[in-house]
């Protein structure tokens, strides 16, 4: 299960698991947001390729609009998935 919290404008918290069963809903929710966006991933426990796809498309959309996407506080297991996918060098990860 995934929860998407928006504590303030431009700040988003991803909580839980971003997998194939949650990726469509996450995509719809994030698609409605404009940048700059900072995603706090401190409580994101799990991400798969479906979740990476959502964040890749979000990044592309924001950059095309001249905005930014920042991913922050990734737990080591989730950070490893970004690294395996070669995305740690391409996305703005704090």
């Amino acid at each position: 299960m995934l929860e998407i919290r928006t504590p303030s404008t431009g700040q988003v918290q991803l909580v839980g698991r971003l997998d194939a069963s949650e990726s469509d809903r996450a995509d719809q929710t994030l698609r409605a947001m404009n940048g700059p966006l900072r995603l706090d991933c401190s409580e994101l426990d799990y991400i798969s390729s479906a979740g990476l796809g959502v964040l890749i498309e979000l990044h592309k959309r924001l950059v095309a609009a001249g905005q930014t996407l920042t991913l922050a506080n990734l737990v080591p297991r989730v950070r490893n998935v970004f690294m395996y996918a070669g995305l740690d060098r391409l996305l703005n990860i704090e």
Binding site: D19, K60, L91
Partner: protein, 157 residues
Amino acid sequence: MRDCRGRPTPVAGRPRVALSSSPMVERRFPRDVASLEGIYGFIREFLAERGIGPDAAYDVDLIAEELFTNMVKYGRGGEPEISIALDWDAPTLTFCVRDFGAERFDPTQAPEVDTSRPIAQRRAGGLGIHLVRRMADRLTYGYDRGNVIRVTKRLDV
């Protein structure tokens, strides 16, 4: 027909002879991404029964999700349920997913993802098998009345 270890499956009416101290445990799940929660639960339960903590489950969950969702997406003609089987022979976990009746689909032949490409040229397609290749020790494909994918992974327990 053969099981996930490549052994002939037992003939109906004859008792199964135990060839291993840790028999594979199989469960079938509806062909739907909504099955993922149940699959994670199955993995957690299997590992817990063998004294393996939830930390080890992370990579197994990811391998299971990527292979299962591939079959959901590309397993044309398959039966309504997909089989997942697990086996533990310390320190190696074997994960086997079977899609009975589906057209041949071999994800091990998928081209490598070029991770050096700029973000504008990146997309999710192909990343799943790429992640499985990175996380698994061995990934093999076979066809026996359906697609059979087998992964082995050594767990740090």
